[in-house]
C-alpha cells in the first residue's frame, strides 16, 4: 500500500497545474444552461484546448490517438481539473468516456480513424442510445429493431433519457438484430451501431427534467438507414462490446464529483460558521460524518484506480460499490446543505439548488441503486440469481 506518487506522476501534476493556471483565465464565460448550441461550443472549445495542449484522450491508448496515461495520471488529471475549477467534460462525455473507448477497444482500423480523432479534437459530439421507454435498467430488454437491407441496417424504434441528443453528431446505438426466442438469452441478439444524428428518420424531442432544464431527450427512429460498416464488433455481439466500456463509466466517471463533494462540504462548513448554524452540534456532527464519507469515496476511488492499473485497465467490480455509496452521499450532502442554508434552500435561483435537484438523478442514472445492489449481490457476493 503506497499512496505516494512517483516522480513522474508528481511532474505530470505540476505541469498540468501550471497549464491550468495559465489557461483557465482565458476561457470565455460559461453559457446559460438552456443555451444548447452555446454549451456545445463551449465544451468543444475546452476539448480543443486540451487537445492542443496534449491532454486529450489522456487515458486512451496511444494507438487510438490518446496519451496512454496510467490510471493514476488520469486520476491526477481529474482531481486537478476539478480543483482548479476547469470546465466539466460536458457534451464530450459520451464520446470521450464511452463511445470513444468502445471504438478504440473493439473498432476496425477504419472505424478508429473515422471517429476517434474528431472526438479528441472536440469536433464531433456523441450521445448514448441505450435506454428505451420499456427497457431502463433492464437494458437487454431493448426493442429497437435493425433489419439488414443490403449494405445497411434499417432501424426503427425509440430511445429515451438520451443526454445531449439535440447537439450530438453521432449516437452509439444498441439495436436488436436477432429476435428474442426461447433458445437465446435476450442479450445475445444485440448489436452496437454508430448512427449519424442527421440521418433521415431521426427525430429528437427534448424532455424537461424535474430541475426544469432539458438535459436529455427522446429519440424516435423511423426506418433510419445505418451502413453495416458502422457496426462496431460482430453482429449480435453488442452486449459484450457495451459491457467492456460500461465498467469504465463506473470506474472513474465520478472522480471530479468526489473532489467537488469535499469542496461543497468545506463551503457549507464556512457558511454554517458565518450564519451561526455551526453551533448546532447535531448539524455540525452531520457535516463531520459527511467528511468521513467523502474521505472514504476518495480512498475507494484510489483503490479502484490502482486496482485497474494493476490489472491492466478495466476497473473491477468496485465500481458498483463506489456508485452506490457516492450517489447516496451526494444526496445526503445536499440535504445537509438545505439545513445549513435555511430559507435559501427554497430559492430555485441559487446555483446549489440546481445541483441539489440534479443530484436526485444519481441513484437512477447509469444503473439504479437497486440494480447496482443486484450486481453486487450476484456478481461479487455470489448469491443465487433473483427473479
Amino acid at each position: 500500500m503506497d499512496l505516494a506518487f512517483t516522480q513522474d506522476e508528481e511532474d505530470f501534476r505540476r505541469r498540468l497545474r501550471a497549464w491550468l493556471a495559465d489557461t483557465l483565465p482565458k476561457l470565455p464565460d460559461r453559457p446559460h444552461p438552456a443555451d444548447w448550441p452555446g454549451r456545445r461550443a463551449y465544451d468543444c472549445g475546452w476539448q480543443r484546448m486540451l487537445h492542443d495542449a496534449g491532454y486529450a484522450g489522456l487515458h486512451w491508448p496511444e494507438d487510438a490517438g490518446g496519451q496512454g496515461a496510467t490510471p493514476t495520471q488520469h486520476l491526477i488529471f481529474l482531481e486537478e481539473t476539478e480543483r482548479a475549477g476547469a470546465p466539466y467534460v460536458g457534451a464530450g462525455f459520451v464520446g470521450l468516456l464511452h463511445a470513444g473507448p468502445t471504438i478504440a477497444a473493439e473498432g476496425t482500423p477504419e472505424q478508429r480513424a473515422r471517429w476517434l480523432p474528431p472526438i479528441l479534437r472536440g469536433d464531433e459530439v456523441w450521445c448514448q442510445g441505450f435506454s428505451e421507454p420499456d427497457a431502463g435498467s433492464d437494458l437487454a430488454s431493448l426493442r429497437t429493431r435493425a433489419v439488414r437491407d443490403g449494405d445497411a441496417y434499417v432501424v426503427s424504434g425509440s430511445k429515451i433519457w438520451t443526454s445531449h441528443a439535440e447537439i450530438a453528431d453521432w449516437c452509439e446505438l444498441l439495436v436488436r438484430t436477432a429476435p428474442v426466442n426461447a433458445d437465446t438469452p435476450k442479450h445475445r441478439g444485440i448489436s452496437w451501431l454508430a448512427m449519424p444524428m442527421d440521418a433521415p428518420g431521426v427525430t429528437v424531442r427534448p424532455l424537461r427534467t424535474l430541475a426544469g432544464t432539458a438535459e436529455f431527450a427522446e429519440v424516435f427512429l423511423d426506418e433510419v438507414r445505418v451502413p453495416v460498416t458502422h457496426r462496431v464488433g460482430e453482429e449480435n455481439d453488442g452486449w459484450r462490446v457495451t459491457m467492456v466500456t460500461l465498467s469504465f463509466e463506473r470506474g472513474t466517471a465520478f472522480v471530479g464529483e468526489v473532489v467537488a463533494c469535499r469542496r461543497v462540504l468545506e463551503a457549507l462548513a464556512r457558511t454554517a460558521k458565518a450564519n451561526g448554524r455551526w453551533d448546532d452540534a447535531v448539524l455540525r456532527r452531520r457535516l463531520g460524518r459527511l467528511a468521513a464519507e467523502c474521505a472514504a469515496l476518495w480512498r475507494l476511488t484510489q483503490w479502484n484506480v490502482s486496482e485497474a492499473q494493476r490489472t491492466g485497465g478495466v476497473p473491477g467490480v468496485g465500481g458498483s460499490v463506489f456508485k452506490l455509496r457516492f450517489s447516496q452521499v451526494r444526496q445526503e450532502l445536499y440535504d445537509a446543505a438545505a439545513e445549513v442554508l435555511g430559507a435559501d434552500a427554497l430559492d430555485a435561483g441559487q446555483e446549489w439548488v440546481a445541483d441539489r435537484l440534479s443530484s436526485l438523478s444519481y441513484t437512477i442514472a447509469a444503473g439504479t441503486s437497486q440494480i447496482q445492489r443486484n450486481i453486487v449481490a450476484e456478481r461479487i457476493l455470489g448469491l443465487p440469481k433473483g427473479r
Binding site: E79, R262, R286, E293, L297, W303, R373, A377, L381
Partner: protein, 373 residues
Amino acid sequence: MDFQLTDDQRALRTGVRELLERCFPRTRLRAMVDMADGDGAERGAGLDRALWRGLGAAGLFALRVPESAGGVGLGLPEAVLAFEEAGRALLPGPLVATELTAGLSVPGALAAGEWAADAVRGEAVVTALDEGDALDERDAPVKEDALVEHLASADAVLVLGPTAVEVIAAEAVARSAEPIRSVDPATPLHRTAPYRTARCRTAQRRTAPERARPPVVPPGASEALGLAARLRREAALLTAAQQLGSACRTVELAVDHAKRRTQFGRPIGAFQAVQHLCAQMLVRAESARSVVYAAAVTEDPGDIAAAKLLADEAAVRNARDCLQVHGGMGFTWEADVHLHLKRAWVRAGQWQSAAAAEEELAAGLLSTVETCL
C-alpha cells in the same frame, strides 16, 4: 501510487488468518463464551495465558517493534492487517493496549520498559485506561468514568491521561475499579473513576510496591503529550481495523447463510430483499476498508477519525443486518452473530467515539486551507 496490498502484505494477512484458525478456532471461542456465561462478579472469562503467549511468540504484538528490540520491524499498515484478522476471528483480550505497550520497548527511548519487553513476547497482558485528552480547571481528567477491559486478567494498565502516558501495575487500577456485567461475554469490563485512580496511582508511586515497576513516561513530561496523542490515534486505528475484520466476517456469515437456507422453495439469497441487505453490508465494509487502509498509510488524524467512524458503523450495522438475514436463528445464543455485535458495541465505545470523530472531522472542514482530499 499503488494502493493495493503488496505480496508481502497479502502473505502476512494469510499467515495471521491461518495462525488464528489454528490457535483460536471457533470451538475455542464458543467454549470461552459458554464458560463466561455464568453469573457473579467476575462474569467474563479469564484470559487464556497460553493463547496470549502463543500470540506473542508468533509476533502479533511485535509487528511494529524494531528488529533490534526483538520485533518484526514492520509498520502500521501491517499491524492493521493483522488486527483486521483478529477482529474477524473475534480474538479476545486487550490486543490494542498490549500492542501499543510493546511498541514502547524501543531501547533507550523511554525511561523504563519492562512491561513493554514482556508485552512484546506475550508474557504480559496489558490493558488500557483512556482518561481522555481533556482537563478541567483543576488539571484533572474531565472524563467521568472509563471502562477497562480484561482488568482482572491483566498484569499492567497503559494509562493515557490528558498529559501523561503511564504503564502501571494492574492492581493499582483494580483497587478503584468495579466490575460490570459486560454485554460481551468474551470481554469482561471494569468501570473506573479517574480521581480515585489518580489517587491510587500516586499512592502506588509513594509506597513503591515490590511488584510495581516504574512508569514508562512520568506524568507531566512534555514529550508525553505528543506520545499520548499518537498512542490514542494508533489505538483508534487498530480498533477500527478489528471492526473492519468483524464487518467483513459478518458479510461472509450472512452470505453463507443466505445461500444455504431455503424458504418458499428457494435459497433466501435469491430474494432481492435479502440480496440488498447483503449488498449494503459489503458497501459498508469496503468503504470502511478503503479509509482504514489509507489511514494506516497516512497516519493522518482526519483519516483515522474517518476510519474509526466508518469502521464502527460497518461493524455494528453489518452485525445487525447479518442477524436479520439469519432470521430467528440470528437471535439465538448458538449463532455467532450476537458475539460480533456485542464486541462491535464494546469497540465502538473504546478510544474515539462517534461523537468525537465527527467533531474532529467537522473541525477539519474549517481548518482546511486547500482541499486536501
